[in-house]
């Protein structure tokens, strides 16, 4: 899993780390039970404050994405969100709303938007399969 930050995005740095870990988990670049980089090396590599990485990991733990094993580090958890299903759906709906607003401003039509969603889902599926195949090869 490689994290890349962009200070020009205007998005809080710790949230960039949170979102990229989640994206890595969704695409299979990071698998259940795999360790996340430890805080200090990651902070040094990204040239950010240690507190920022710690804050991102705390947020990920709060969201149930990772778990901390004392003395061993942080690991990706089985995908069991601590939130109730209706709340999870609502959280996703908010993200979709933001994408819809963006699509409207960029004059992307509804049909194209839906096609794009499907295409992106398939793209994630494909990388996921590729990662799985690679994992099997290694075994």
């Amino acid at each position: 899993m490689l994290i890349q930050l962009n200070f020009k995005s205007g998005k809080p740095v710790y949230l960039q780390v949170v979102d990229q870990v989640k994206a890595a988990a969704a695409s299979g670049a990071l698998r259940v039970g795999e360790p996340l980089p430890s805080i200090r090396p990651l902070a040094e590599e990204l040239r950010i404050n240690r507190n920022t990485v710690a804050k991102a990991y705390a947020e990920l733990e709060g969201q149930g994405v990772i778990e901390t094993v004392p003395g061993r580090g942080c690991f990706l958890k089985e995908n069991n969100s601590p939130f109730r299903k209706d709340i999870r759906l609502k959280m996703v709906a908010e993200e979709i709303d933001a994408a819809i607003v963006q699509a409207h401003h960029l004059r992307v039509e509804d049909k194209e938007f839906l096609a794009l969603v499907k295409e992106r889902l398939e793209a994630f599926e494909a990388t996921n399969k590729a990662h799985e195949a690679k994992a099997k090869e290694q075994l």
């Binding site: 200070f7 740095v13 040239r47 404050n49 710690a54």
Partner: protein, 296 residues
Amino acid sequence: MNQDQSVIEVTHMVHKYGRTEAVNDLSLRVGRGKCYGFFGRNGAGKTTTIKCLLNLLRPAAGSVRVFGLDPARDEVGVKSRLAYVPDYVAFYPWMTVRNVLDYLASFRPRWNRRTESELLGQFRLDPTQKARALSRGQKTQLALTAAICAEPELLVLDEPTSGLDPIVRREFIQTVIGAYQEADPGNRTVFVSTHLISEFEGLIDEFTIIEGGRAALTLGADEARARYKRIRARFASEAPAVDFPQAKQVRREGRELELTVNGHSEEILERLRALAPEELTTEALTLEEIFVAALK
């Protein structure tokens, strides 16, 4: 700990050299465990402020508290818990690197030998070398190593990278602050003054820009990047001559329009979209660009 979580608290501080006011009604607060940037041009009052924190200078008015203590009344209480690296460091020239470290360690209740050897190795400092033979950059590296080995609760750095070449600079500050925060990060506070801001981009949690001895801007780094933005719009024909009173700066060049904004970006974007641009992009300013924009 009184003053709850503040490590440094400066209120309405004034310091004058003769009739010249170097620091004029400055207030700032540094929370425990934060990496705090103190940005300003040369002569803005950065070093004077730092010297007031260390009781090397006495403020003419206002108050200074470090760990909730007054550095003028409780000098040892304050200094034993912090380490200070000035912009220009000097050692006894006849001492070797080893001697310098042992000498400095003798004043400290704690000294982390592991950190010491780790940093000496990373900076490739030879313990048998005489201080007089060290370059300016090596002296800074030695001073920072010594500051961190003492494991102070507060690290005060005055222009720590100014004597270093640009390649060494970024790597180096990262190493130093990483090593410092390694143990007990909640109790490791950094107060760093600099005008070379880009090296500290990702490290700074919060900052104050000082100008003419006053705080021109105090903000969290993420908050600052969310507020200060550059918006670019390109139109099919000549950029419309519309006024944007909320923008800090507007540049018009043929079909292109570039706005620097501090807040209000949603309203400005809304107005731009109504003008149907071919392309519309937004990016956050870097802390260095924010520094420049704030002082304009």
